[in-house]
Amino acid sequence: MFLGNLGSLQYFLPEFAVTATILLLVALHVASKRPGSSAFAFLSILGVGTALLLTGAVPAGAGKAIFEGMAAYDGFALFFKALTALATLVVIFMSMDSGELAGRSQAEYYIFLLSTLLGMFLLSSATDIVMLYLALELVSIPSYLLAGYLKGRRHSTEAAMKYVVYGATASGVMIYGFSLLFGLSGSTQIAEIGRVVAAGKGTLPALLASVMVAVGFGYKIAAVPFHMWSPDVYEGAPTPATAFFSVGPKAAGFAVLVRFYYTVFASPDAATGLWRLNSTIDWPLLFAALSAITMTVGNLVAIKQNNVKRLLAYSSIAHAGYMLMGFVLLTPAGIQAILFYLVVYLFMNLGAFYVVVLVRNGTKGEDIADFAGLGSRAPVAAVAMAVFLFALTGIPPFSGFIGKVYLFAEVIHRGVYWLAVVAGLNSVVALYYYARIVRSMFLADPTDASEISVPAVPRAMLVLLAAPTLILGVYWEPVARIASQSVRMIAF
């Protein structure tokens, strides 16, 4: 049953909140005489906060197909909306504290940020390839602008340029795959395309399409070999934007990846509660290989990085590799593991970037050497950073460990041992480069012993991000439950 356009509106409240905020920001930007005012940030916080509340307010129920089947309103979409809204909220706070953005036009920045959020909302619920493509571009285009936001800084311009070129190529390849699917099925509905593929028509075009679409999505989640853009973009973009890219669009990328592949190239099997492949195309194996390569390349290259932002960029490539493990298993528990991981990843990764922002404000640098002696210069930030980094490594009692346990558990349960072993070895490698930062913070002598002052708001934010990182490592039952409930995707 598709809901008509009018009837769908009541399920579109979070998107309305964001859209209204964007429009308001545009109006104020035109009217305002003080482009650097922090009022824009507060307005954005208000808008995103409202959207977040609205996501929680409307019950998902069994799920609905809204706007004539263009989008889904189900637990899965709501989960990602809440997640991306939360990430955006943290990033807005981070942006307010960032010295890089001070003195630049604030309104535009938040307009781009919120537009991306709107795109992510749509992306996580899109069930029609046209809608999906529009949503993807709505995520991408403001992202390019965000990456290049530091006008006049060479790295930033380069970042934006790279992002656009790579992004355009990936989306071009992807839309070619989409058109193949449309040609095959005569429908833009992914569920309908799934039925056609399941019927066994046109295996070769479907195979081609599955690979081409993988390019587009792989680019969004920065999986190897579509990751080339990310270190440069991450390094050049303003740090809060980098933090945003590493969590928000990546999460939305996973949302669309799961929904698309699990609808088009697989269908739920009522008997076992799992999914089975719609055709002979063994895309899970393709993605399993991609997962192993992604985490290995990400980790190995991260070892050599001296710039913390670049290091975190490569490490986030590796994390995408870990999360892909859950994607290839075709089980609800696998998806649950991805969802759970995304939650803990949000806190630990945004936390780590938050500290980078603060250190940059204090030292004007982002290299590991700039972190030297942070343990004595800014103890709160340093301890929080250590928590985030050890969580990212996946050591108990931090949440990252539990995230990994869920992923490893399902991989082992389904008998893909080689992947578990590869991921295990990767975790050891990861420790090495994360510990380099920790070493610099606590074991190295500071080049400049003066204290770095961390104002109250960022300090509170660090604690707010570190607390779940720690607590979810010891007691994670509620989040695990939410994640397992959010696996429900509607298919129609």
Binding site: F390, I395, P396, P397, F401, V405, F408, A409, I412, H413, Y417, A420, V421, G424, L425, S427, V428, L431, Y432, A435, V438, R439, F442, L443, Y475, W476, E477, A480, R481, S484
Partner: protein
């Protein structure tokens, strides 16, 4: 009680973090208190412990059990209890932790951080020995890594950073293997009461709960090896031992004490608690290779120790040698051998703690540890020399001291099983004796090195750390029954559990 013992140090650490800056003495005394309380509790447990009950694989026979649901959705439990395998280790941990805190009173740099991390470490160690849930065990096992990394890395010697990260990486590698085995066990065993998957170690030990491919022998060998490597790194067994000399040499004195006294035992403890009873068939199959590894450790460790010019490195390698006895005794799968191995764990914990304390004492004064840099110290510092002699003689297994009892039992127990190997191992004893006596001679006897004519005698605080250990070593050496009784029932049962498969 066990929970209290485990988490009191953590509470102490939390309090220490809240103490304002500059109050180092307050911090020290809080730390002492937070580690003394678990010691008092452990002594109370020692009296309350029923020595006739075996434990091992029967949940109802564990003592001081506390059990709560933790994460019900995947059946993780908070499940702690003690039996004859864990009891001596809990006692040892409580004792050495307290002494190590006292021994660390000399630390001047960042006292607050040091003590807080140390207490966190103690919580981790206690937790490992008390856990009966594999997940809980794993979490505690890993919790120890972080404080250890910082304790070596911040307060260590010149190459501290290298040593710290090497220790961390090695142990993490072992842990990850353990994690994979843990998850594989989880998915292939069921709780007989509820039918769900379980992390309960005792359910793993009941072979009839195993299902799926866990029944296949080749898979079991792989899983046993996964665990074995994890534990072997901690022991450390040749060829996984290379982190140990680095970590020991660079670590501050008290941390070396804990590292050698408690952390190494976790490897052998893990084998006894987890590997042997869960994979008895593989244990029997793997007994001879394990014994060979044990003998290699004994001989190779002793030879390496002999080649060292650094006193601390020598002691570190002597640990490698002594831990070989544990493995040899366990591999024999006889009651005597098993008890001997456990005895060696307990006794080596005390002796090696003394040795590291003593090396620390001389390093504090001379600022180097070169064996050849001293000479004739016996005349200058007689009390210190007496302690060193006692520790050295205990370490080389002189009758009347605890090391002798342990080694004899290992030899007795394993002789029936592997005759020729034991002969080789017995030769190792000669090397062990050789390097101890040689070092003793070069440092304390002979002409006095005039540089150290005014060397300060061992002080009261240091004696306070050493004397209890020395006395215990002597008491246990003459009258080992209190310790043996503590572990006997459980270890005999453990051998039965393993042997039941043949």
């Amino acid at each position: 009680m066990l929970t209290l013992m485990t988490f009191l140090p953590l509470l102490g650490a939390a309090v220490i973090v809240c103490v304002p800056k500059g109050r180092d003495d307050v911090v020290r005394w809080i730390a002492a208190g937070a580690s003394l309380l678990p010691l008092i509790l452990s002594v109370r447990l020692w009296f309350a412990y029923d020595r006739t009950v075996a434990g091992v694989n029967v949940a109802s026979q564990f003592q001081f059990v506390e059990r709560y649901a933790w994460i019900p959705s995947i059946n993780v439990e908070y499940f702690v209890g003690a039996d004859g395998i864990s009891m001596p280790m809990l006692l040892l941990t409580a004792l050495l932790s307290f002494l190590a805190v006292i021994g660390s009173f000399g630390i001047e740099k960042k006292v607050k951080g040091y003590m807080a991390l140390f207490l966190l470490l103690e919580t981790g160690m206690m937790g490992v020995f008390a856990s009966l849930d594999f997940f809980l065990f794993y979490v505690f096992w890993e919790v120890m890594l972080l404080p250890m990394y910082f304790l070596i890395g911040i307060w260590g010697g010149p190459r501290k950073e290298y040593a710290a990260i090497k220790f961390f990486l090695y142990t993490l590698l072992g842990s990850i293997l353990m994690l994979i085995v843990l998850l594989a066990l989880y998915f292939n065993t069921t709780n007989p009461e509820t039918g769900g998957h379980t992390f309960n170690l005792l359910h793993y030990m009941a072979q009839n709960t195993h299902s799926g491919w866990l029944k296949g022998f080749d898979v079991r060998i792989l899983m046993f090896l996964g665990l074995f490597i994890g534990f072997a790194i901690k022991v450390p067994l040749f060829p996984f031992h290379t982190w140990l000399p680095d970590a020991h040499v660079e670590a501050p004195t008290a941390i070396s004490v804990i590292l050698a006294g408690v952390l190494l035992k976790m490897g052998t403890y893990g084998l006894m608690r987890i590997s042997f009873p869960i994979f008895p068939d593989v244990t029997v199959w793997f007994a001879v290779p394990m014994a060979i590894l044990g003998v290699i450790n004994i001989v190779y460790g002793a030879l390496c120790a002999m080649a060292q010019s650094d006193l601390k490195k020598m002691v570190a390698y002597s640990s490698v040698s002594h831990m070989g006895f544990c493995l040899l005794g366990m591999a024999a799968l006889t009651p005597t051998g098993m008890v001997g191995a456990a005895m060696q764990m307990f006794s080596h914990g005390m002796i090696t703690a003394m040795l590291f304390f003593l090396v620390g004492v001389v390093y504090d004064r001379a600022h180097h540890r070169q064996i050849d840099g001293f000479g004739g110290l016996g005349a200058v510092v007689p009390v210190y020399t007496a302690f060193v002699s006692l520790a050295f003689f205990a370490s080389l297994g002189l009758p009347g001291l605890s090391g002798f009892i342990a080694e004899q039992m290992v030899f007795l127990g394993s002789f029936q099983a592997f005759r020729s190997l034991v002969v080789v191992a017995a030769l190792g004893i000669i090397f062990v004796a050789a390097f101890h006596l040689w070092a003793l001679q070069r440092v304390f006897l002979g002409p006095l090195n005039p540089k150290y004519a005014a060397l300060e005698e061992i002080n009261g605080r240091e004696i306070f750390c050493l004397a209890p250990l020395g006395i215990l070593v002597m008491i246990v050496g003459v009258w080992p029954m209190p310790v043996l009784n503590l572990m006997n029932a459980s270890l005999v049962k453990l051998v039965d559990v393993v042997k039941a498969v043949i």
